[in-house]
């Protein structure tokens, strides 16, 4: 028999080792899944993790990692602040949509005017859109004690309906021959979030993601507010004695994560996506939850995890084209990763020991 013994302090070694172990375990079990689907597991894993970085067409795929990784990192950074304090915003997908709608709305309102101030205003609009959407669960929680998990999630479905309504109605391109979807912002100079350096994949969203990582790092390690966030998560009672005001923390964490998700939506709609359409959102808000946990809720970890997750997206697309691997298989693969991560986390907090035999 084995017993679990709680460690006095979480193991430093295992807190670094579990994400790596989880990725390896996912590769093994993912390989088994791919084998069950009739694909060569080694080739499939290689296609997902190797080809985008070092394969024949890597020059094309490498910039894509930045493009896909930026929204994931941006959203996950915001989520991680709340998750650390036990505030669960799982409606980032909705905040992402609302940021995109609000930001694109600002841009479209100015069409066809060309001016330098349009894009900054759109950024502001995107952040505000996401922020406002996240403020709904935040205010309801502070004022009425409503569960923020359920409210933020319900609002995802509301935002999806609103997105459909916008792309079919208010924001539909008047020159679009009746097709759903807004004007393409890529063809509107002042509103386009184009590449900063041609061919690098680097757009303003990527820059914002890096800035968010730095800010989160400073906040958590060098700022009183960050200390309060960590304290609330690790020792809620002590936090109350230390004078932490829970309601302010809730408003802050949900507000920041909403604003960041909104920014991610805006940079996406003004850049890679280009327009508001019914199927604009592709689940970044949910994948970002995996990214946040894979990065152990640490800003630098999230940066790495975001890169890895972007890799599985791109590698998955390649495997779809080359090997006929179904898109859903990648979704399962990503879900598996979170499973192994949570399961292996026990090694961080507990020691596994053989049970000592009873003294006669």
């Amino acid at each position: 028999m084995i017993v679990l013994e709680k460690r006095p302090q979480p193991s430093r070694f295992w807190s670094y080792a579990t994400p790596v172990a989880a990725v390896l375990a996912t590769m093994v079990f993912g390989g088994l899944l791919f084998a069950a689907l009739g694909k060569n597991p080694a080739v499939a894993i290689g296609t997902i993790f190797w080809d985008p970085l070092f394969g024949e067409f890597a020059f094309y795929y490498r910039p894509q990692i930045l493009v896909k990784g930026a929204p994931l990192v941006l959203i996950a950074i915001g989520l991680s602040l709340g998750f650390r304090a036990g505030i669960w915003n799982i409606g980032a997908e909705g905040q992402y949509i609302m940021g995109a709608i609000a930001g694109a709305g600002v841009g479209l309102a100015f069409y066809p005017l060309e001016a330098w101030y349009i894009f900054p205003l759109m950024v502001l609009g995107g952040a505000l859109g996401g922020w406002a959407w996240a403020m709904i669960p935040a205010v309801l929680k502070v004022r009425f004690g409503t569960n923020e998990i359920l409210v933020s999630l319900m609002l995802v479905y509301v935002a999806e309906q609103l997105l459909a309504s916008m792309s079919l109605g208010l924001m539909r391109n008047p020159e679009g021959h009746g097709f759903p979807g807004s004007r393409n912002l890529q063809q509107y100079e002042s509103a386009h979030n184009g590449e900063l350096i041609a061919g690098s994949g680097m757009h303003w969203g990527v820059a914002a993601a890096f800035i968010a990582v730095i800010f989160a790092y400073v906040l958590l390690n060098r700022h009183m507010l960050g200390f309060h966030i960590r304290l609330t998560g690790e020792a809620p009672r002590a936090a109350r004695f230390a004078g932490v005001r829970p309601s302010r923390l809730i408003l802050f964490c949900l507000g920041v994560s909403g604003a960041l998700a909104g920014l991610a939506g805006l940079f996406e709609v003004a850049g890679p996506a280009g327009q508001i359409t019914i199927d604009f959102n592709i689940g970044y808000g949910f994948t970002a939850i995996i990214v946040a946990f894979l990065g152990r809720l640490h800003p630098v970890g999230i940066l790495l995890a975001g890169g890895l997750m972007a890799l599985t997206y791109i590698g998955g697309e390649i495997a779809q084209g080359n090997l006929g691997l179904p898109a859903a298989a990648i979704q399962v693969f990503q879900g598996m990763l979170l499973f192994f991560l949570l399961a292996l986390d026990i090694l961080t907090n507990y020691r596994i020991r053989p049970r000592k035999s009873e003294v006669a």
């Binding site: 319900m154 309906q161 859903a328």
Partner: protein, 306 residues
């Protein structure tokens, strides 16, 4: 707009059908939460049940085997939740989310060959005189057996929790796992059984959507019903009959909303489709003041140190 086209008898009958997935998933989650575990993976278990039930029903031609497979599929997925939260002592919120994300992916993968197929139909109850009665017939005696099974499960859970020793132990584990452990009850075993029951119920609820209510398979077809079921348990203050009441209320809103769409009300379709979610939020706000009835150990990790 022609509101007279909405037939109240048919409305109530279809309301009961719309409410059944919620009812099944909600009563399962109620038992899970009564044992002190918060499983946020209801949506994932429902959609897994929806596709396992659909696939087996199509392959075997028997909707009954389909429902059986759906319960098994939901329970199997919830077993992963057991491993995470009861064995590996992982955070329940995160594990539940993992279950939902995984379930959505898995169901999409499993369902690839089943898009656009019609499943075999489950027969409706047809009692000679009773089912032909004008108003009462279609409302009370004209449904499929699973709908009645849902109501029977609610009654069973109610009786179990209120009158039996097993129910008392289940509640004790949910209120204070340390005290229950000290008394010699197997906390982990009891919670495992509850979680499996919740998974099976959620699976049945999912299959009810894919086999009876729609009936078809599309990716992500549960569309948040699992999350509404979670809200429903809060709404019901953890009381079985109130879960049923709540489910019928939400079922009513869903059906009314669809009827209004069909009747061509001046409100755009998208805004009507939002209404169940918005009303869920509204109900949560109204009822969130009273948290006293929540099981005291809900969501807390149990680790027997000796």
């Amino acid at each position: 707009m022609d509101l007279s086209a909405i037939n109240p008898v048919l409305l109530i009958a279809s309301l009961m059908v719309a409410a059944t997935p919620l009812l099944l998933a909600g009563i399962g989650e109620l038992v899970v939460e009564k044992s002190g575990v918060l499983n946020l993976g209801v949506e994932g278990m429902m959609i897994t049940g929806a596709i396992s039930g659909f696939a087996i029903a199509v392959e075997t031609g028997s909707p009954w085997l389909g429902f059986l497979a759906a319960a098994a599929g939901g329970a199997l997925l919830s077993l992963l939740f057991v491993l995470l939260t009861q064995v590996a002592l992982a955070n329940q919120v995160a594990s539940g989310l993992a279950l939902t994300l995984f379930g959505l992916g898995l169901s999409a993968l499993m369902g690839q060959g089943y898009v656009g197929i019609k499943p075999p139909q489950i027969g409706r109850l047809d009692i000679p005189v009773l089912s032909d009665m004008p108003v009462i017939g279609p409302i009370l005696f004209g449904h499929d057996p699973i709908l009645y099974l849902g109501i029977a499960i609610v009654a069973g859970v109610w009786a179990l929790l209120k009158y039996t020793r097993a129910g008392l132990i289940l509640r004790a584990v949910g209120e204070s796992h340390d005290a229950a452990h000290a008394l010699g009850y197997k906390v982990v075993r009891i919670r495992t059984l509850s979680i499996l029951f919740g998974g099976a119920c959620a699976g049945l609820g999912g299959a009810y959507i894919s086999l009876v209510r729609v009936p078809q398979w599309t990716e992500g077809m549960t569309a948040g019903v699992g999350w509404i079921a979670l809200a429903l348990v809060v709404f019901a203050s953890w009381k079985p009959w109130r879960v049923m009441l709540g489910a019928y209320l939400f079922g009513g809103i869903t059906v009314l909303q669809l009827n209004l769409q069909a009747a061509g009300v001046a409100i755009p379709v998208e805004y009507l489709a939002m209404s169940p979610y918005l009303i869920t939020i509204l109900v949560l706000v109204i009822l969130s003041k009273d948290k006293s009835s929540a099981p005291a150990s809900l969501g807390r990790i149990f680790h027997a140190s000796r």
